[in-house]
Symmetry: C3
Subunit: 330 residues, 3 copies
């Protein structure tokens, strides 16, 4: 593959092979030489714990040298607009930024969140696209406005570790959060779950729909893989007989604007994941990408229970990213 | 040892053995393989020069990969309170933060200063304790609210380099500073000096007492090791015949509050370490953990004299931390 | 060489040899062992993309361990004044800062821009000088108030790659910028071009003169190397028959002050590098150190044309810095 921007870049079989490689890396953790003598740029336009730590370690364990770059902080601020007259605050155009990095490194990882200001712009993932346009080396998406494929792949690995390669009933359920959040994680989780052929239910309050175009992609992926997708506007019934419960807050397209809208506080108690809801599942596992706000998204009781696999998901970020990097630089 | 949180975690003999290892590392500086292929997280909640640089190099020289993490800056802000309802500013609970890191790395170093707001809370070292509670890998204290054991061990190594393994007359003397400072350094120095069996004098103005519980620990350690402890409220007599003068500013428990109290400026001139005072010593050495405010804590004349060993202390941070890390991951 | 502070530290032949080494490193990019097992401190008092990334990779590719230090951010703020009474905001004196680092590492790189506040002070490069004064290991200048020799050497390498080792007609042309910029880049480019024996034209509006003392050094270097230097206050004629066009904005000494002066906006359109001007050259190449403000310093048409070598210059930073580091630690 040229770049790794979304799981849609790969077939279901290719995704399964990446997971197999990740599981092999996990089974025997050691330094290998896929990136021996080579450097990888990790460009962070946003904060990060798991991604930052796990990518540095992934590069190191493949024999390489991680190089962290923080535009606007330790590095220059970046202009993304083509043909811009750069007489304002931004000091470097992405055309130079990325072409220079391409000379130094063998791959570029980039994290660039949605700002929730302009839906029509952000839905096109303009920053990530510019990286892939200007880079002559593979680009790996470490969470963009619309996708977080490394997270989704770590999630699919975690599900496979628990249940094997069989179709499961998977619930992706919205949760309240004190401020509007991007939809990269639910987008990528839904897409990857569909590509894996699971029976996916997406539950959210009325008015919190995901991107219609993304949903079309999810539905067609499910169909191709022999799975199914249903949407419910109910905070409880999706839990019935679920094998997997994946909680995440997100803001719908209508929330985007100069001042992003705030989720309705009245939804908070109804949409929290608690033991009562988990009791409705088929002894299901609880998943979240972290960081998670305890007792807001999910209760301590669920998060600290034996069915919580959030730490495994986070660990698997390391292994799947090693698999993705190794495939990208092959 | 499981963790390295305070020198009190180890016996005097174990501390001496760490110093011997550090001196061997110093005698032949090269890359070894105690951490080969492994990563170490270095979590900095506060600024650092020596600790940050020397820990990165220590990990590298043991064959490992240092991973810097800066919560609240490049990483997420951390919630420490159990059972918190996380609907405020803090985005990640330490329970997840540390458990995730434990999956990625072979050891975790953490720096977390006292905020000087709530003595009853801070004296329990809550952040450091939470790290050691949730971590499944060794935790190394890179300065907490109450302890700075790596510094104290580098100090003990420096004294041993100068004088051999014999009992010396050691003065720990308070100094004025434009703002209130934590007591981690004097606490750990006093404790380690007592554990090494030195004759320790602690000098400070009335009202600047150290923690009574810490002082009990220092006294009992001294007794066990055949040394002694005395406290004086005089800025000069402690220098008489001293072999070692260790200067440090600190704020006593009574200074902690929503707005930390400020040291009395009238104490400044009386408590500075100058050549006149050093002339009273037995050709004693001058020590400070750095950074040091010149001509406030100590005069240029003393700091730049042949008896100043501050740069040696700083260098020894590297060697003793290699010894501690090697022991922790054995 | 002891330190690498300015190209004036070396003879023309020594500079040529560094470029030869850099070209060899570029021809076969791999990890070597000049810095094996050793660490290099990279001290950044200012933002950086190219320097930060390329230096980290240079150290890695020489087998070493780069250690980034950011005083005032992740590290302490630094006092530079001798005999200072440090009762203000600055927490560590450079005397300790550098002497401690010297114990940890085999070389120190430092970036410290002009603040454009006090010309008489800044023209002496006080921070860089203090580093070289207190360091017991080689210091490499990663851009100081007055010099950016790594950039200039990468530029000379780029010119040699294009034209071989022959005398060329080189234009250094001022450009407008929304705020006052330091003169390190034009100073070092002019000096290095003179040392390489090129025929150098420096073009800038009246009142934007470079430092007279630097200009004397440039003129005597040109004479020694068999080249020439001329200054014109015209935005176009310097382009006639030029082989190399190097654009850069800078503020003259008279702009320095408590509030730096701003370049005259009326100069903007006249001094931009555009296709019309480039058509006057002898099929010349366009150079800039980056970051560059598109359509302010240079038009998109020129920057994106085949004659633009800005990405090559940036790449060569890596290779020449490897050559410089290898020579410094030999």
């Amino acid at each position: 593959m040229t770049h790794f921007l979304s799981t849609a870049d790969l077939s279901s079989d290719e995704l399964r092979e990446l997971i197999s490689t990740a599981m092999a890396f996990k089974a025997e953790r050691r330094v290998s030489n896929e990136l021996s003598g080579r450097s990888v740029a990790l460009v962070f336009l946003n904060p990060s714990l798991r991604t930052r730590a796990s990518m540095q370690i992934a590069v190191f364990e493949l024999g390489g040298n991680p190089v962290l770059i923080e535009p606007g902080s330790t590095s220059w601020s970046i202009e993304y607009i083509d043909n811009a007259v750069m007489d304002g605050d931004r000091t470097e155009h992405i055309a130079e930024f990325v072409r220079v990095l391409s000379r130094y490194v063998s791959a570029i990882g980039v994290r660039t969140f949605a700002t929730l200001k302009d839906w029509e712009l952000e839905r096109t993932d303009p920053v990530l696209k510019a990286f892939s346009k200007y880079s002559s080396v593979p680009v790996i998406n470490l969470e963009s406005a619309m996708h977080h494929p490394c997270q989704a792949m770590a999630d699919m690995q975690t599900i496979r570790e628990r249940f094997g390669e069989v179709k499961k009933k998977v619930l992706l359920t919205w949760a309240w959060h004190p401020k509007a959040l991007p939809m990269a994680v639910p987008n990528s989780f839904a897409l990857a779950a569909a590509q894996m052929g699971h029976d996916l239910t997406i539950a959210y309050p009325e008015g919190y729909d995901l991107d219609p175009e993304l949903m079309m992609q999810v539905r067609s992926s499910a169909e191709l893989a022999g799975g199914s997708v249903q949407v419910v506007n109910d905070s409880a019934i999706g839990f019935d007989d679920a094998d997997v419960v994946y909680a995440k807050s997100w803001a719908p397209p209508s929330f985007y604007g100069s001042e992003a809208a705030v989720p309705d506080p009245q939804l908070r108690d109804r949409w929290i994941v608690n033991s009562e809801k988990m009791a409705r599942t088929a002894n299901g596992i609880f998943m979240h990408c972290l960081p998670v706000r305890r007792n807001v998204i999910v209760t301590d009781a669920v998060l600290d229970s034996a069915s919580s696999v959030v730490i495994d998901e986070a660990e698997n970020r390391l292994h799947i990213q090693k698999a993705i990097l190794a495939a990208l630089v092959k």
